[in-house]
């Protein structure tokens, strides 16, 4: 166990039932601790993702090694081959491409598949709904375990016709959601989450939490950050590590906090994030994120942005967050700048630049861009480096608008009367050509 993980364990404050490692921290990523949060296929997928993106060879090899072992243990040939390819013989003879093993696994898989299919056909001829449903489920599980995601998806969908109780429906939805997330088809995820939520029976709290987390994830991936934030914030602490095949509670905290910072206004931030008792449980798992949310609310923008920068390299290795990190960070920074300037009539750009830890000229450019987008009502005195708030003169603006409307009216009406006259004489160009 690496030193960082040990330190994290002693520092960690979490629910009793779950390992308190905080892998999303400013330190270099502890691959083992990170991977320990997840189970199932996503563990391997995430390890491969880290290996691809991290750029530090030691970590890369560590991740690939773990991915390889995991894939082999799960008998998932697709992921195994991927891992072996990436390892590229760098880790010694045990990690070389073992075609014999692949073939034997595939053979066994074929046999099992035939068995399952014959069973299913048997059930179908017997027309016993429950057996057919379980048959399709088993086949779906089989395909999923071996990495054939689209077939798994199709099989799970087929169980829909044979579901008799809401428990069955929920089970089907959860399966479909799982596969869709891995396939990256988040429209389906949103669909099936709402299907599951609409069942007449009240759902188990854990399942509700899982559905919220899945919905949040779908919104995040489709760039609906505000909705994503809401969903993550509504996720109950019952989630714990029960959904480790998709998402870890630390992720809920990080995703939720970042999306909220980027898209909520101050009042929402206070009521839904800071005062949210349920969400507090999640935030405790990632104390740095908790710190930065509090900093933002207390207007300590410099330290908030510093925390963000420190977290950035590890967050870039997250399979779901990577593509959105740039946008989210920009949005948070812009929000910070706008909030900073809001209470003042004039702001000295030098002080502001030191608060935001950037140079005056860079800050000036950012401000100019925000003013052009009409997000800040102000103007820059570039000579003295001061930002002045500007409140439009309502009276003058009204006069201007009135005169302009009058002109437009005149122009449009005259043109219209002319056109009406032309039409009245029913001009056909054939007549005058």
């Amino acid at each position: 166990v690496s030193a960082a993980a040990a330190a994290a364990v002693t520092n960690g404050l979490g629910g009793g039932e779950q390992a308190a490692a905080a892998p999303v921290s400013a330190d270099q990523l502890d691959v083992e601790a990170y991977a320990a949060q997840y189970s199932g296929r996503t563990r391997v997928a995430r390890l491969l993702f880290i290996a691809e993106r991290c750029g530090v060879e030691a970590i890369q090899l560590e991740a690939l090694r773990m991915a390889h072992d995991e894939a082999r243990a799960r008998e998932d040939t697709v992921l195994y081959l991927d891992a072996v390819l990436k390892i590229n013989s760098r880790l010694g003879p045990r990690y070389r491409h073992d075609q014999a093993w692949v073939d034997s696994v595939n053979r066994r898989a074929e046999q099992r598949k035939e068995k399952l299919e014959t069973e299913l056909n048997g059930y179908r001829t017997n027309l016993i709904k429950e057996s057919i449903r379980m048959g399709y489920n088993d086949i779906g599980d089989f395909f999923y375990a071996h990495g054939h995601l689209s077939e798994a998806f199709k099989s799970y969908i087929r169980t829909r016709d044979y579901c008799t109780t809401s428990k069955h429906i929920v089970q089907m939805c959860m399966h479909v959601i799982l596969v869709s997330i891995e396939l990256g088809q988040f429209a389906h995820v949103t669909n099936y989450v709402s299907k599951a939520e609409q069942t007449p029976d009240t759902l188990d709290a854990v399942i509700v939490a899982k559905l919220r987390a899945a919905a949040g994830l779908a919104n995040l991936e489709t760039k609906k950050y505000k909705l994503a934030a809401r969903k993550f914030l509504e996720t109950g602490p019952e989630l714990g590590s029960n959904y480790s095949e998709v998402i870890a509670p630390q992720d809920v905290a990080v995703y939720g906090a970042l999306c909220a910072l980027a898209s909520f206004d101050r009042s929402e931030l206070k009521s839904k994030v800071i005062d949210n008792i349920n969400f507090r449980n999640f935030l405790e798992l990632v104390p740095e994120v908790r710190e930065l949310v509090n900093d933002f609310y207390a207007s300590r923008y410099g330290s908030c942005l510093e925390h963000l920068e420190k977290l950035k390299p590890n967050l870039l290795l997250d399979i779901h967050l990577r593509e959105h990190l740039g946008t989210l960070y920009n949005d948070i920074r812009h929000k910070a700048i706008i909030q900073y300037t809001l209470p003042f009539i004039s702001v000295d750009l030098n002080t502001m630049a030191s608060a935001f830890k950037s140079s005056v000229s860079m800050l000036e450019k950012e401000l100019a861009a925000l003013i052009t987008e009409n997000k800040i009502q102000a103007r820059i005195d570039s000579h003295n480096k001061i930002l002045y708030a500007r409140h439009a003169d309502q009276r003058n603006a009204t006069f201007q608008r009135a005169l302009q409307t009058g002109n437009e009216f005149e122009r449009d009406i005259k043109a219209m009367l002319l056109r009406a006259n032309l039409i009245k004489h029913d001009f056909n160009q054939k007549n005058w050509l």
């Binding site: 570039s382 005259k414 002319l418 056109r419």
Partner: protein, 392 residues
Amino acid sequence: SPSRRDAPISPSRRSIPSASNRSFTLRRDSFVSSSANLRAHAGGDLLVTVADFLTSCSADQIRMAPDKFLNVCRVLKNEVMQLNAPIRGIAPLRAAVRKIQTSSEQLTPLHAEYLMLCLLAKQYKAGLSVLEDDIFEVDQPKDLFLYCYYGAMIYIGLKKFRKALELLHNAVTAPMSSLNAITVEAYKKYVLVSLIQSGQVPSFPKYTSSTAQRNLKNHTQIYVDLSTCYGTGSYSDLETFIQSNAEAFQTDNNFGLVKQVLSSMYKRNIQRLTQTYLTLSLEDIASSVQLNTPKEAEMHVLRMIEDGEIHATINQKDGMVSFNEDPEQYKSSEMVEHIDSSIQRLMALSKKLTSIDQNISCDHAFLMKVQSGRERARFDYDDFDSVPHKYF
């Protein structure tokens, strides 16, 4: 004065009897038919004779034989063109326009001819006197297109781009069932003037004929491309584009306008800066607007201040420009008068609109259509309502 009906045609006759225009009409016919011969003999005299006639003839009598009158005017026009002295035709034709019009709102075929002469003689102000009257009655659509096109060119010459845009807009959006060359040329200028005036080309309003909407852009592709290039905001890109298509613009006689489009790009960029900055150094202005030196920036800003396009002061010692708010407070008596006269004008226009609306409501054809519509299907006001909804 005695009737000259039987006297031989003599080109040297100068005095025109106002009481017996009828007789002159017949003589005029012979002028027209044999003007070719006469020109050989008379030259300048023919011109003077016709010009005198036009200025002093009686309007009522003219309106009884408008076609012949138009012919005479054409003779005059051809004459001055031949002599390469379009300016000599301006005063007579202006008088002619006034005489043949039944009201100042009517468009006659002479309007376009008159404007053309003004353009050729570069007497733009003379053209204004005719352009100032709004036109609401049109007998021949061909006149309208030419009138709009030439009128717009006069306004462009006087740099009154907003009024030019109004005329070009009418030419482009007039009802038509097939495209004509005048509209195509008008659209080209419309694109250029829109860019100079407001930095973008508005899309076709929904009352534009479908012919125009479908086909205009195909015939004016480089202008459409020019407007896209303008939209990027990069001076150098625009310049390169113009250079590479210079020949096409030259052939269309639009190169002067195109150069104005190019220089308007700087203006627009500088104006955008006034929205963001209170003071800005000349260096920063130069770099953000893509000028080469602060000196050039100073020149541009100075010119814009003189033209009244921005309100600013240049501090040469520090190399800084301060952008000021529009000093107009809307409190002066001139402004009050201006607002008052605008209100009067608009009320008159509104009254006119109401009366036309009432006339149409009583019109037989309209009532028939309403009736059959009611019988057939749900009667939808939108079908008959062409006033833009934003005013409701």
